[in-house]
Symmetry: C2
Subunit: 288 residues, 2 copies
């Protein structure tokens, strides 16, 4: 069972948000969906989960359109920044309502998560701080019997301890009960160890669709005296550069030239995922 997104386009007014996006989401994997502010990540997630309509293109599960067969949407859950809950309702009632809507809900696990995060399920949704609203929505997302969980900025307002607890719980529930998670976040380094595959959206198009290991295996920082570094990296795919006095670092994505001898004063090291992302997408923001 896989989700196939084909040639999705979306405009808001005159503004092209998504421009021919195609990708495949496979069962039982953890994906990262990365992109600058305004790149179209939330729009794409809303289209996949049929909350908004695309102008063109299709979303299918095993070849069947989710838009035409909305029982398929019961396999998918999107946790987003939008608060869908009535403020006066108690959390434990919202758990019950979720169970009714999705035909199941892991109450034992929800109880465990409430205890771990020290969230009292007798509180009303409106009483929660930003951080605890996020935690509540994460609990819903982790306890529903769906095959695909989409998490749009799942750590908004969470302090460092709660973020670490969430990452741990996600990996625990994933290994005891494999399903697919697609995580969209700006905190790239923190999720880098969890995700196997990454999609990078830029200006409404897919810029990267690759396994994390494969991506990182082609990402190098070449440092040393400016001239020597420039000489050594000539002709390579330089995606960014930094300098510090006479020293220079060129960020290279792609293969190095193995015939070229490495000068003694030059060092080659690896890039982490966040740095790689920054340099791949440094074309700039979207203005607003």
């Amino acid at each position: 069972m896989e989700i196939k997104i084909s040639e999705i386009t979306k405009k808001f007014g005159k503004k092209q948000i998504l421009n021919g996006v195609s990708l495949t989401i496979e069962p039982n994997r953890i994906y990262g969906l990365l992109g600058r502010n305004g790149a179209g990540k939330s729009t794409l997630l809303n289209i996949i989960t049929d909350r908004i309509f695309a102008n063109d293109g299709t979303v299918t599960i095993d070849g069947v359109s989710t838009h035409e067969h909305d029982e398929l949407l019961g396999k998918i859950y999107l946790m987003s920044e939008v608060n869908l809950y009535q403020k006066r309702v108690r959390l434990q009632e919202l758990f019950k309502a979720s169970k009714i809507m999705y035909g199941g809900f892991d109450e034992t696990y929800a109880k465990h998560l409430c205890e771990a995060f020290e969230l009292n399920p007798k509180l009303r949704f409106g009483q929660l701080s930003t951080g605890y609203r996020t935690i509540f929505k994460l609990i819903i997302a982790l306890c529903l019997p769906v095959d695909y969980v989409f998490l749009d900025e799942p750590i908004l307002g969470l302090d460092a301890n709660h973020r670490e607890l969430f990452y741990k719980e996600l990996l625990d529930t994933y290994s005891s009960h494999p399903r697919t998670f697609v995580i969209s976040t700006h905190m790239i380094e923190e999720i880098a160890n969890m995700i196997e595959h990454v999609f990078v959206l830029e200006n409404g198009k897919i810029l990267v669709d690759d396994d994390v290991d494969h991506m990182l295996s082609q990402a190098y920082v070449i440092t040393g005296p400016g001239e020597t570094v420039d000489q050594y990296t000539e002709g390579l795919n330089i995606i960014g550069t930094e300098s510090l006095g006479n020293l220079k670092g060129n960020y290279v994505f792609g293969s190095l030239n193995d015939d070229r001898e490495i000068p003694d004063t030059v060092q080659i090291s690896r890039m982490d995922l966040q740095k790689l992302f920054i340099h791949l997408t440094s074309g700039g923001g979207t203005g607003k």
Copy 2:
């Protein structure tokens, strides 16, 4: 010129938010103000900048109470999550208004920052996304002629590229024109290299008031086979523990026992600031 906070207490209703907080903020330093959600960080910043009143205690600049001499508040700026601006007003007008209120504003630097962040100053405040509202408020904070800049969660909604640009600009403006920055954030690892001194608030009290280097010099992770690790760390100040199969890691804060021989199977390594914070404050959240 230093800011002295003495024995500040604050209650909201029956809830004690701050409980006898004392600390000193010196000129031309970069501080981190850390704490779990609900620890009282924003309340403390609002009291220092006289936006709300304390129930008890004083805030003085060189011995003079800021509450009684509000011309001193012109030396201090707080950038917070609250949006104080009218949505229909253009950013360039808001820059002018800030200049009038604070008796100065670095227009050249504001222009540079708008270009670097690709923010069009002709836009109206209401047209900006969450991320760009944060960027606009950061520009104000960096361009005002104040001696103390307090930044409450300054990276809310910023993508990785914009966060990196902000850290770079903050260090640039700090070195060309030294003043004090107090940064309150949950993204501890990202600011760890910038801050010299850290305050950790927990349950309304100061838990740590220390230089970052000194703190980290006392923070160790001892890993190896569970029993050996426990034996070696017996009697030390263990602030956390993790396990992986038969292996165990004990997080120690304080001095190691130098008389004890280090077993061959045991490794001692350093902790980063975020891990140290997590283990120091793992008593739990505040419920909401």
